[in-house]
Subunit: 289 residues, 2 copies
C-alpha cells in the first residue's frame, strides 16, 4: 500500500493505472476510520482492480464554529486499517496542497443543499461537492463509494456527477451500526457515556417510524411528531430537524408515497448526529436506495 | 470526420482514444466558425493525436435580453470548415442533452468574474465555466485551446482547471484580426456597414494605448481617457468599460507595471464587441500571454 501526498504524483499514478486498462474505485474519507468506512472499502475492493482511499479533513465543508479543529485524527491507525482491508493507494494531501494560493472555484448545487442539513450548515454541501470533484479529477475513478448514512451528501454527489457528466459510477452503501443500533460515525467519539445512551434515541425513533408506516400511517406530521417526541424524551438531546421527504429531490412530502426518506439531525450534548432510513412499501429495511 | 450528438457516445469514443494511448485536443466553440476558430483548431491539431471540436450555443452563458435566440448558426458551413482543417470529431449536442431534467449544478469562481465583462453580464462566466467543465468531462482532453480575444474567459478557465485539479493543459491563442484590424468574432455578422467602420475604433484605441505606453505613460487614467475619447469619437459607439488591470487577477492597477491588460467592451449599434491587448515592456504585440 502506497501513501501519496501530492496531487501531481497521484494523477500520474492514476493515469498509468487507467492506461494499463485497470479500473479504479475511490472511497473519499476524512479519516478516523471505523467499520462504516471499512465496509465502503470492501465494496470498492469488489468493484475495481485498484482501490484508492483519500483521507482529507476538508476545511471548506466546515462552517464557522463547527468542529474542524477538534475533528478526530489517527493517521497510523487509519493506515493500518486501510492496509488490512486491501487498499492499494492512500491519498493524504495537506490543505495547502488542495487549496493553492488564489484558489477561488466551487461547485454549487442549486436545490439539494437547501434541505435537511444544508439549512443548518450553509455552504457545507458546496464544500463537499467541490472537494469531491477535485478528488475525482485527481484519482480519476471508475466508481466511487459513499455511505447512505450521509444520505444528503450521496444525493448531492450523485446529482453533481450526472450534471457535470463525470463518467463515474456512484455506489451508496447501507449504514453500518453498532450492535445496539447507533450509526457508526467518527463523531461518536465525542460522546460521553450518558450521551452515548441518549444517542440511541435516533435509531429507536426510526424503528418507531417504520412500525407506524407498516401499520398504514401515511401522514408525515403524525410520524414526525412521534419521532420528535421519542427523541425529546431522552436527556441531552436537542433536535435540529426531523424530516420526511422525497428520496431523490429531498423535497418535503405532504402525504407519504411508495418511497420516503426519514432523515434527522440531533444534537446530543455538543455532538451533532445524523441518521436516516427509507420508509417504503414491502420493506422495513434501510439498506438500499 | 465524425459528428457525435450524445454525451454517452462521445465519452465512449474518447475513453477508447485514451486507452489506445493517443492524446486529445479540444476546441470548444459556439459555431459560426471564422478564421479565429480555425486558428485554434490548427493549434490543437499540432498538439495532439486527435482533434475534437464542440459546437454548442450554451444557453446558460447568455443573460436575459442577450442574443441567445439570434446567435448566428451555420451547421453545414461549420462542418465543411472543420473537415478542411483536419478535425477528427465534432461534438454537437442539443441543449436538452446537455442539461437534463433536474439539472442544478454550476461551477462558480469567486473573484475573476467580478471584473470586466462579468459586471455587465452577471452569471455569464458561471455558465462558461460550467459548460466547459462538462465538455472537459465528456471529451477528456489532454489539451484545450481558447482564444485570447475572450481574455477573461481564458483566465476563468485556466483558474478553474487549476483549482479543480483538471489534468488539462490550457493553451491561449493570439487574436486573429480582419485585414483592417477588427478582431474576428461571430458577432461581427450583426454589424451594418456604418457600424462595421466604427468597430475599428477598438483596435485603433489599443494602438494608441500601446503608443502612449511605449512613450512612457504609466498612469492608467491617462491611457483610459485617451482610449475612451478615441472610441467615443466614432458614431454608433457606446462604451461598456475600458479597463487596465493585472493580467492574472484582473484587478485594476493604480500604476502600470511590467505587464498590464487593456480590455474593453463597446456596444456598436446593438452589437457588443470586446477586445484586449497587453501593454508590456519591450513589446508592442498582443499575441502572447
Amino acid at each position: 500500500m502506497e501513501v501519496v501526498e501530492t496531487v501531481q504524483e497521484m494523477q500520474q499514478i492514476c493515469e498509468a493505472i487507467r492506461l494499463a486498462g485497470e479500473t479504479i474505485a475511490l472511497v473519499p474519507t476524512m479519516g478516523f476510520l471505523h467499520q462504516g468506512h471499512l465496509e465502503l472499502m470492501r465494496v470498492g475492493r469488489r468493484h475495481a482492480d485498484k482501490l484508492i482511499i483519500s483521507i482529507f479533513v476538508n476545511p471548506s465543508q466546515f462552517g464557522p464554529g463547527e468542529d474542524l479543529d477538534q475533528y478526530p485524527r489517527d493517521r497510523e491507525g487509519d493506515l493500518e486499517k486501510a492496509r488490512k482491508v486491501g487498499v492499494d493507494l492512500v491519498f493524504m494531501p495537506s490543505a495547502p496542497e488542495m487549496y493553492q494560493e488564489g484558489y477561488q472555484t466551487r461547485v454549487q448545487l442549486e436545490k439539494l443543499p437547501r434541505h435537511l442539513c444544508g439549512l443548518s450548515r450553509p455552504g457545507h454541501f458546496d464544500g463537499v461537492a467541490t472537494v469531491v470533484a477535485k478528488l475525482f479529477n485527481i484519482t480519476r475513478p471508475h466508481i466511487a463509494v459513499f455511505g447512505q448514512k450521509d444520505y444528503q451528501q450521496l444525493t448531492v454527489i450523485s446529482r453533481m456527477v450526472m450534471d457535470l457528466n463525470m463518467d463515474i459510477r456512484i455506489i451508496g452503501v447501507p449504514t453500518i451500526r453498532e450492535p445496539d443500533g447507533l450509526a457508526m460515525s467518527s463523531r461518536n467519539s465525542y460522546l460521553n457515556p450518558g450521551e452515548r445512551k441518549s444517542a440511541l434515541s435516533l435509531k429507536k425513533s426510526m424503528d418507531l417510524a417504520l412500525e407506524l408506516f407498516r401499520e398504514g400511517e401515511r401522514r408525515p406530521g403524525v410520524i414526525i411528531d412521534a419521532v420528535r417526541s421519542l427523541i425529546s424524551g431522552h436527556p441531552f438531546t436537542e433536535i435540529d430537524y426531523v424530516a420526511l421527504c422525497d428520496p431523490v429531490t429531498l423535497d418535503s412530502v405532504e402525504v407519504l408515497g411508495e418511497r420516503n426518506l426519514l432523515a434527522m439531525a440531533v444534537r446530543v450534548g455538543k455532538t451533532r448526529l445524523i441518521d436516516n432510513c427509507l420508509l417504503q412499501n414491502g420493506s422495513d429495511r434501510d439498506d438500499h436506495i
